[in-house]
Symmetry: C2
Subunit: 606 residues, 2 copies
Amino acid sequence: MYRTHNCGELRISEVDKDIVLAGWVQTIRKFGSITFIDLRDRYGITQLLFGEELTATLDSNPLGREFVLQVKGKVAERSNKNKNIPTGDIEVLVDSFTILNKSAVPPFTIQDDTDGGDDLRMKYRYLDLRRNAVKKNLELRYAVGRSTRNYLHEQGFMDIETPFLIKSTPEGARDFVVPSRMNEGQFYALPQSPQTFKQLLMVSGYDRYYQIVKCFRDEDLRADRQPEFTQIDCEMSFVEQEDVLSMFEGLVKRIFKDVKNIDYNEQVQRMTWEDAMWHYGNDKPDIRFCMKLANLKFPHYVFPAKQGDSGTIAGTDFKVFNDAETVLAIAVPGAAEYSRKQLDELTEWVKRPQIGMMGMVNIRYNADGSLKSSVDKFFTEDKLRQIANVAEAKAGDLILILAGREERTRKAMSELRLEMGRRLGLRKDDEFKLLWVLDFPLFEYNEENNRWVARHHPFTSPKPSDIETMISNDPAIADPEKYLEHPYANIKANAYDMVLNGNEIGGGSIRIYQKELQSKMFDALGMSREEANEKFGFLLGAFEYGAPPHGGIAFGFDRLCAILGGSESIRDFIAFPKNNSGRDVMIDAPASIDSKQLDELRLSLK
Amino acid sequence: MYRTHNCGELRISEVDKDIVLAGWVQTIRKFGSITFIDLRDRYGITQLLFGEELTATLDSNPLGREFVLQVKGKVAERSNKNKNIPTGDIEVLVDSFTILNKSAVPPFTIQDDTDGGDDLRMKYRYLDLRRNAVKKNLELRYAVGRSTRNYLHEQGFMDIETPFLIKSTPEGARDFVVPSRMNEGQFYALPQSPQTFKQLLMVSGYDRYYQIVKCFRDEDLRADRQPEFTQIDCEMSFVEQEDVLSMFEGLVKRIFKDVKNIDYNEQVQRMTWEDAMWHYGNDKPDIRFCMKLANLKFPHYVFPAKQGDSGTIAGTDFKVFNDAETVLAIAVPGAAEYSRKQLDELTEWVKRPQIGMMGMVNIRYNADGSLKSSVDKFFTEDKLRQIANVAEAKAGDLILILAGREERTRKAMSELRLEMGRRLGLRKDDEFKLLWVLDFPLFEYNEENNRWVARHHPFTSPKPSDIETMISNDPAIADPEKYLEHPYANIKANAYDMVLNGNEIGGGSIRIYQKELQSKMFDALGMSREEANEKFGFLLGAFEYGAPPHGGIAFGFDRLCAILGGSESIRDFIAFPKNNSGRDVMIDAPASIDSKQLDELRLSLK
């Protein structure tokens, strides 16, 4: 037996017991003729005391950091207690020890503040994983998974595995493909999600399905994307949107409770997609703080913006605003006293290529109630006050205004809002605000092909009130200029996204379950009957044999864990992540394969 | 809201309540002017009663099997109770109904005894999955998974996900490969198991890891293999074999309790690999029944058999036995009265090509104590009695004897033993017998390359007492004829298989954790240092930084479920299995991909 206890469990109640421990050498401190060693394992750290004789042994048999050590000894009360660790009241008086394995000097320190850079830590990921910070992340991930499984089990969901070797359906993101040796010249694809299979399970009557499952997307990787990622994938039968929302609010609240010990008792807020875009400039608003976007050009809710000029700035003579498609303002609380230098820096910030604005106008709403703007000459104080009112500014606030093309300006203002929220400390890692975003458009217009594309995926149902519109209208767009006037432009999806602290953590929809409507959807997306049958014939077939109404959701498990762990990076929450080129630098994959393998697959490299 | 209750939960206590149900039409029975419909969902079946008026409505709006129906009505006590189903005390008096979806006539009946053949049921798997038999299998699978997770959680194991896109290491079975678009000309491989990653997690100090995880093997498929299959994959640190055995006996006993409500209180039996081969003729004996193999040529334990002739048949003159490498007997209880015809049929059975014997000798040990053999002229009654003793036969038994080449004969006798066990009803689906098979040889001899191959995998540790033998001897085999005399031939592995009712359900080992020993293993397997570094450099690297002693096990989840469900076929326990050609005939995968995809991957078909 290698150990009687682990390194995290000995307490004062075990004093005088003979015990055996095994673990890694964290630190070695020699004081005169005795030696203290901190022994570490997954469960904690225990202090070992090597007396004179053993310390002499150590001189000829030196230990180093990360050596694997087994010690036999007796538990003793410490004179100098360490209140910071659970084992801090005791130490182990070592009788004998065995070096189970040696360790070379690690390429970086195994500590919370490691001196290892990203590349080095990825190459030696097995050492990086020893660090407490990373271990805590994986423990949190496990806790989130376990909480999820428990909740869904109690709610009658069944974990059912769906296949990984499926069929390529090149829609949206690229599939990874897998050449088949037994079926010459043919390929499997790795699933981007188990979407069609979970729908088939509903057709099969499984009623409530879930899976925590790997999915694959061969996309060019951005900073925080991984070619393989994990979803909490769920589907339910005989449900309407409201049933799904309430079930999965319940899931996330349960995770909060189990993992963070947070009672999220408040009602989860809801917002239409239009409101989100109008008030926050994006479809996943961070509602931990207000600072809503005010539209100075359109007084009423019009989205997307149309030409017009009847808003707050009507009748003024500032060409930059008058020529702009959109003029947006936010009121930054308590920032009226920003220095010239601070304002210049902010202006530079919005002029960065990632944001891409030409400049920024500001209005100080001073503590004394006076208003002062960088473009005073174009605006009367009365007009400035009107703007301040529309932006819901109070005395002491700083109003920031951006103007330009609708899409870019809205995006820029959304970014600026988030940046100001961050600078003002309004986006706290330990505060969690959930939000449902609802009523997304079902279709987006694709200019290149002058046709509709599915905003979510082709299985998303229109809102019940829009089904008739969809069925009774021809999807063809006669005049590309006027696509917004096509009835399809206003069809809303029976879809929902769950947003947590400004991140989309989950999304789903009520699905189409009627064969005719599904066929109409494929039509709308420009898919021929033949193509639809080749790709999704099995689903259309299934819809002929009594498909129930159903809907579901998928959560991005990696991101959910990252946010709960207070991190922006999903990579920190994946045991063996890939880098931005899709490489695992530790195992050095992908790699060449030998020509024999290629021959067997009847493939050659171009 | 689509329903207030599901189809399995209404009881007599709900009588007079207004309820809403939704589900599938299982049966329609019209009695005069009223109609009974059985409505089915995952949870059960509820009887609906359509009165005169609604029955008339049905005439003009006919329902069919598998229609999706929503009904509103009132719960009533049934006059004619059905004790076979939990809802059998009540029925629902329907007030109104809505057809949620129609159904075409299914291509086979959705019943336990379906009229659908294998091919049809695979093509319409979403309908096959509706059948109660299949549903029960998937429910059992979910229960086994849940039981596993609960037990392992309580034992301190963490579920940690390992990557699916890894590196090809062509050892043993073939990898599925995945071309990388971003890393031109390079390929990922899908894991055959997370072996090296779970070992790295031990090096990282995670102490107890598990995963229920898909694995992939591009093998030519036999009847009961799938290209993608699921493992319960586990690893522990600071353990010896005994720790692993006791932990995972615990797991399987827990599954028995949770899933089958069986208290498996007896000690799990253990057997060395040599004993298993000697007494049962294979390394996964079905110990639900005895009928051990008796060796008539070698009185003592010698395995593999060597030339010699000192056994029970010594001094006899039957050339077939004397020329054979091996002569094996079993005593079939109570079969002495088999007819000539039955014996002929058995002889034909062993002569089938799958078994491949030339013939079979039998001895009847009659109820009166006399002995009668098909080869009486070569054996005295005294000799027959000696044989009967060695075979542990009693009066009334039938002794069956096979003779021939060692390997084939042993295999044939093993098959014959299983067949007789089956015919005699000694292999009961609802009786479960666990067995650990231990002390496997570490190496097997590969004739073709005159070198050693790993019987399990190259990370399996030799038994502690054999480590010195392994390190101090040169693996090279000077004389192929005498490979059995090489010290490596006798090295035993620190490996264990768990056998349930004659099926290997799990296997594992204590791993090598010392860099030198691992390198020696790669040497022994004929892998150059360069090759070893290219393939497993990360693992050898990890072993330099303080690898702890560790070991683990992996259970075949599909097979475990099948056996617990009393089935031979794993396919019945997989929601969407592939056929023997590795095809999913429902979605028609694998399939061709378009040339654009191939171009992006820089691949061409030969």
